[in-house]
Symmetry: C2
Amino acid sequence: MNPAEEDDAADRPARTGRRPGQSKAREAILAAARIRFAENGFDKTSIRAVATDASVDPALVHHYFGTKQQLFAAVVELPVDPDLTLGLIDAAPLERLGEAIVTAVVGVWDSPAGPGIVAAVRTIIASGDMSLARTFLLDVVLERIRQRIATPQDDGRVRIGLVASQMAGLLVTRMIIGVEPVASMPLPELAAAIGPTLQRYLTGEIDRPA
Amino acid sequence: MNPAEEDDAADRPARTGRRPGQSKAREAILAAARIRFAENGFDKTSIRAVATDASVDPALVHHYFGTKQQLFAAVVELPVDPDLTLGLIDAAPLERLGEAIVTAVVGVWDSPAGPGIVAAVRTIIASGDMSLARTFLLDVVLERIRQRIATPQDDGRVRIGLVASQMAGLLVTRMIIGVEPVASMPLPELAAAIGPTLQRYLTGEIDRPA
């Protein structure tokens, strides 16, 4: 760093996202968010609290990262915007939700973002700190689906947990271990095979043998 | 090591499993087996080839490790004998195979061996070398089940791959990430919820929505 840059970074706090001080503020926000999400989960973490911890204005957090979900995706270094995938699932009718989840989620894995997702998952599993993985699965990916299937008698938590168990294993066998023929099965075949599993978990009988 | 021990190890090759030279021969066998299994898979690896690579007699491999499956379990540091679990599954009638697999496999995870299994899985996933994980799943755990469900029209490989996808994800969500309520669901409830999924993968219609 030459003296001119040092002066600039020291004199002007990053506000526009274009100053050399930007990377420092960005890193401070990410570090604060990582701790908040891991300790309090997704729902109980606010952009305001992250901004306070990082000693920046909340507007700067939105400016750099967008929504809280997008901030979370940055924390776990997910190379994809979860809102886009969830939008595809939201658009499916309830009775085709299982197939829609397989199609939307595997569609992301099979996209150019796939290798980055595999790297992120491997890092999370190896780290031994599972709180970020839990909050990502339950609060970010599955919460909207849970709200949709919840009834006054059933909050849907067992159901989305079962969905998570099938989809996590599909990720591991298809993308990480590479178990053939599942690893190279075309998406429509996979949706036909696994969609009904998810559909039963979401809307079928799950407390006794089918 | 005192001079008397050193003499003993140098003069007599380990044969009885009680000499100080034992650990060297044992390590050489494990190292040779790790390479053979990773490069050639389970089926194409013979005890004889491992013994040759390790410069020991094949009888010594059997003496230290037992069967080829038990040698494999030692290579991946699995703290459990896969033959015992597979025996439980073999005893189940075909139409209850799904439930039997959940009960037998989750029974092992919930046993005192559970934490060691989780550690082994985490190590394998973090290592980036998936050939041992693949051969363990396909050749050791699932091959006997595949042979049982195979027909002249269907070799069963897609079916056991789907079973692997559900069970791997149950391991990840229940044992590694700890997704509630799946992580603490009693085994009979889990068998009722997930057994039918495996049963459909093994013996049901899988090429079109149920």
